[in-house]
């Protein structure tokens, strides 16, 4: 039986890990990229990002001062029993994690109008930052798997969700995705970017699939489509921190969902920054 305390504690721990630790595949991708660069400036930036990850993990300090908005994916096993109060315990764990990190105190106070205009100020309490609505998926078995991701603000400026007229060609859709990524990467300060795409039937579904791509993506396991997008974006030559070089995009994660009989596909792109995805997971035995 999972206790409330276990849910709160493990959620908080997962948030801290997501915010402060590079996963092995992420670190390996950076090391490979740094080795492959001819430009000393690009090497300098990529090695700086690796050094930052080492310090962040060692000191349990945020990788980035924009500690991000917590996004949670919950996968529930078919044979798992979700305990009463599970979701509120996850929310409590997220708040606890933000306090411990500490997260950047960026919750906007006030009513609808004041929050939009940011005219009533910010909360000084990191834990007042509400998490985004949870996404839920079904899996086999008895486990409940929680994946926690921290979404920084820069990628939200460059991200996009829009229909693409596919003309019955995968290339048409993929080329549009590459075009969006190249256009966004030019303005994103924190290169290399990590691209997450969802392709679905509605704006909501596509964005949700993009989140799933980000939750599951592995830097060292890239599909043909993912590799093609990364390679094409890298031809732009913006390079790490925009200083030029081979690494404009470090990797791409794509999740293709079910499609409808229609002339359009809805594509959602997150043009993730160099620390994306800040992600960690925990499995509860239910």
């Amino acid at each position: 039986m999972i206790t409330r305390k276990e849910i709160v504690d493990k959620t908080a721990e997962t948030l801290l890990k997501a915010s402060t630790v590079f996963r092995p595949d992420q670190l390996e991708a950076y090391k490979r990229a740094a080795e492959s660069e001819d430009s000393e400036h690009a090497k300098w930036v990529l090695n700086n990002i690796i050094k930052n990850a080492e310090i962040a993990e060692d000191k349990v300090f945020p990788l980035c001062d924009d500690t991000g908005i917590p996004h949670v994916l919950v996968e529930v096993g078919e044979d798992a029993v979700v305990p009463a109060g599970f979701f509120s315990a996850v929310e409590e764990g997220v708040a606890e994690g933000l306090r411990k990190l500490p997260g950047r105190p960026m919750a906007v106070k006030g009513n609808d109008y004041e929050r939009i205009s940011q005219s009533a100020g910010l909360s000084e309490d990191s834990s007042d930052l509400a998490m985004a609505p949870m996404q839920i998926r079904r899996i086999s078995g008895k486990k409940i798997r929680l994946t926690l991701m921290m979404y920084g603000g820069g990628p939200e400026i460059r991200g996009k969700t829009l229909r693409v007229f596919h003309k019955h060609s995968v290339d048409t859709v993929v080329n549009e995705m590459i075009e969006w990524a190249v256009e966004g990467a030019k303005l994103l300060g924190c290169l290399p970017c990590i691209l997450s795409f969802g392709i679905g039937r509605s704006n909501l579904e596509a964005a949700s699939l993009s989140m799933e791509a980000m939750a599951k993506g592995n830097f060292t396991v890239q599909s043909e489509m993912e590799k093609k997008i990364t390679d094409e974006v890298n031809k732009a030559g913006y390079g790490a921190l925009g200083l030029g070089g081979k690494t404009t995009a470090l990797a791409t994660f794509v999740k293709v969902g079910p499609q409808r009989a229609s002339g359009i596909r809805v594509v959602s792109m997150r043009l993730g920054c160099c620390f994306d995805p800040r992600r960690a997971e925990w499995e509860f035995e239910a």
């Binding site: 001062d65 925009g242 200083l243």
Partner: protein
């Protein structure tokens, strides 16, 4: 190259794009919320009375929060729009990330000021801070005008003397 704050025209004249530098000394921090307010102080001539001494200084585009420091995108309207006035008032180095417009490159050239970028490596950059204090507009909280003392703060020159790495 090591740079000790504050700097004068001689130091700026030696720097060119792609130069890698390490900055030591006191620098300002500010972003969207406070930089337009500083520009207003410049226009009204009230900077000195508020304790804001800009001559030879640097502005790092960041908030200062318990989560540390890290560059925000300098091409946001309120930030990039402050660069010409701040340069004219004596700021010699603007530190952030992202490409800037040609008009901004021209303004930097006119006032012999430069733009530098630094990786968003918060854990690394925050470790370089020796002290911090709020200089003005404390009501802006983490986005108030701060002065931080840094040691060996890493950056690379992105725009100098009319040349920009983003035009390459």
């Amino acid at each position: 190259m090591q740079i000790n704050m504050p700097v004068d025209d001689n130091v700026i004249n030696q720097l060119k794009i792609y130069d890698m530098v390490e900055i030591t000394g006191k620098i300002f921090t500010g972003r969207d919320a406070v930089l337009p307010k500083i520009v207003k102080c410049i226009e009204e001539g009230t900077c000195e009375e508020k304790g804001i001494h800009l001559t030879g200084g640097a502005v790092f585009h960041t908030a200062v929060s318990p989560a540390g420091i890290g560059p925000t995108s300098s091409n946001k309207v309120d930030i990039e729009g402050s660069i010409p006035a701040l340069s004219e008032a004596g700021i010699k180095m603007h530190i952030g990330k992202g490409s800037l417009k040609k008009e901004t490159t021209e303004a930097l050239k006119k006032y012999n000021s430069i733009f530098l970028v630094t990786p968003p490596s918060t854990a690394f950059l925050t470790a370089s801070i020796k002290s911090r204090r709020v200089v003005a507009f404390p009501e802006e909280g983490m986005e108030a005008l701060h002065e931080i003392e840094v040691e060996n703060f890493p950056a690379i020159v992105a725009i100098a003397h009319g040349e920009s790495i983003y035009d390459k």
